[in-house]
């Protein structure tokens, strides 16, 4: 186990170098000029562009810039400063990560709740009316544009019915003093309800169907028949035999979706104006703010590696037959 962890960490470091360098190379492949953001955007003039380019060392060779980034990150744990607004990327990530985490984990809870209840129920009564209805319901989630779903939710529940806020984020630990913004656990929850459901809809379909298929598959396994034959109560069979086995691939998916979620979060964060990582990534890309973009990429890489490690360990726990090799 210990050697396994060491190996994984060494690999993580190598992967980190690969990913960050590749990001550097592909970013500077296109006609991107980060200096433009500080020089008035579309109407940037040569004199200003030259000044800012030199200031940030954007005219230096790629490997020199990469080395500077790497050195700063490793020695000072500093991701640098935004080319567009001068803010510390460390701070940006520190502020944005909890927002995205709120969205992703809250959303995951909801989609897992939908997936487990609908998935298991459909598997127990396959091809029933309920099974088919559940399917149509979850398919809506992947057949309409997520931004559109968000806007409709917001319009119906926020504007017309007034049950929820229209948009924006409320900090779980209270709003910054003097900002006049809502804050605290209740406000956080209240502001996240719509985003959670919107986000969960993106993934619910896949998970409902996966849980359904896995449960149906497992119900046919020999050990389930054995358990039944031995007269174990149906409820117990379902929980300790079927679900446990059926969830294995679902855990894999959850681990992977941490990476995919960042992409999916872009839509939800945009429509509900949540200042999370996805939004920062898009804004950064639009402004050619490479420092911020790279910061999000670094953070996402680390998060993905971490979650996959957790998933691999979880596997071994759920299915003892698999050991960490």
């Amino acid at each position: 186990m210990f050697r396994y962890l060491i190996r994984r960490i060494l690999w993580a470091i190598l992967l980190f170098i690969i990913i960050t360098f590749v990001t550097f190379v592909i970013f500077f492949m296109g006609p991107n000029d980060p200096a433009r953001a500080q020089c008035g955007g579309d109407q940037a003039r040569p004199a200003c562009l030259k000044l800012v380019t030199e200031h940030y060392g954007l005219n230096k060779p790629l490997y020199v810039q990469y080395w500077r980034f790497f050195d700063r990150l490793v020695v000072h744990q500093n991701l640098g400063y935004s080319y567009a607004n001068g803010s510390s990327v460390n701070q940006t990530i520190a502020k944005a990560a909890p927002v995205t985490a709120s969205l992703v984990f809250g959303g995951a809870v909801i989609w897992m709740m939908i997936a487990l209840s609908l998935g298991v129920y459909s598997a127990l009564r396959p091809r029933s009316l309920l099974d088919r209805t559940a399917m149509v319901f979850v398919l809506i989630g992947i057949s309409a544009h997520p931004v559109w779903i968000g806007l409709i939710f917001e319009y119906v529940f926020g504007v017309k019915l007034g049950w929820t806020p229209i948009a924006n984020y409320a900090n779980f630990f209270g709003a910054p003093a003097g900002s006049g913004l809502p804050g605290g656990p209740w406000q956080w929850f209240y502001h996240m309800i719509l985003p959670w459901f919107t986000f969960a809809l993106l993934f619910a379909a896949l998970y409902v169907r996966m849980v359904r298929a896995n449960v149906m598959e497992t119900l046919n396994e020999d050990f389930v028949r054995t358990a039944r034959a031995k007269g174990a109560p149906e409820r117990r069979i379902l929980v300790s035999h079927v679900l446990r086995n059926a969830l294995l691939p679902v855990v894999t998916m959850l681990g992977m979706d941490i990476g995919v979620a960042l992409g999916g979060a872009v839509f939800t964060e945009t429509v509900y104006q949540l200042p999370g990582l996805g939004q920062n990534l898009v804004v950064g890309i639009q402004a050619n703010d490479f420092a911020t973009v790279q910061g999000v990429v670094v953070f996402a890489t680390v998060a993905i590696l971490l979650f996959n490690l957790i998933v691999d360990v979880l596997y071994a726990w759920i299915d003892p037959r698999i050991r960490l090799a």
Partner: protein
Amino acid sequence: MAQRDEKIVVSAGAGGLGAAIASESGTELGSMEEIKARGYWELVWRRFRRDKVAIGSGVFIILLIFFAFGAAPIVKDMVGHGPNDLFLYAPAVNLAGLPANPMTHVHNPNTGHSDLLVLGAANRLGQDELLRLMYGARISLEVAILSTLGVMFIGVILGSAAGYFRGWTDTIISRVTEITMAFPVLIFVISLAATVGPQLDNITLGVFPQGVITLVLIFSLFGWFYPARIMRAQVLSIREKEYVEAARMVGASDSRIIRSHVLPHLVAPMIVYSTLIVASYVLFEAGLSFLGVGIKFNASWGNLLSSAVDYYTTRPLLMLWPGLALMLTTLAFNLLGDGLRDAFDPRASHM
């Protein structure tokens, strides 16, 4: 190479073991294999035929393909204009800048005739929503189906190899998977759009509309890790199952075990995953078109979905048409998938 025996943890189940050995020794009789294989497909077809819903879905998909490839040009001739023709002036686009409602007559400057926009206009360019829906079906289905095939092909092979052989194979494949997962696809795509995107879009292989190949490449290249990881997990668990061990005990080769005992169990998750991912790719295409990659001026369902967002309160029907089309298609693929799964996996029909 099979794992060393001392590593295998046997978790009993005597009945299962016996049954597995029995079935395994049955198929070992080479002379009967030919006949049995034919019987297998016949059985599959027989079981599938009984499933009316799946048959209906299959028919729907065939109709859809006809609708996309065959009917679109006919409708085009009937209405007198093409899916990319612009109707820039009122009433196709009214003075408030809103696309025309269904059943609006517009003047066609090329023919001088009065043309009918059956489902109204799709956007502020006054393009025909119905025609774009029909022509879009073709591009979207091509992108979605080809990408799904690509993703499943790479994913299943790499995933099952990693899960079955474990050891170094697994390590290498898993590491490559992680690189793919962590790869900043969004940034890559934007750089791509500005650099080699236009050249890439021009690759059509003589059959596909512009941009289809670009999208298929992007989706396949960055999407395979998903099925690969699922397959790996499934195989990891299957390879430790009693019947696999039993097969190994009687000396079956790796390729035989994979073919006869591992792959059949992967059919269910593969089908479920592919039938859903088809719909996701239509949506991804909407997202990527927004970033300037892939389908630009031609119609696609992704285009229609993303432009409908602009008019979500003023022209809600614009979301309904492509949304409904996409939902019915996905539903059909899923129901068909269910039927296929049951047909391939006889145990499910015991239920």
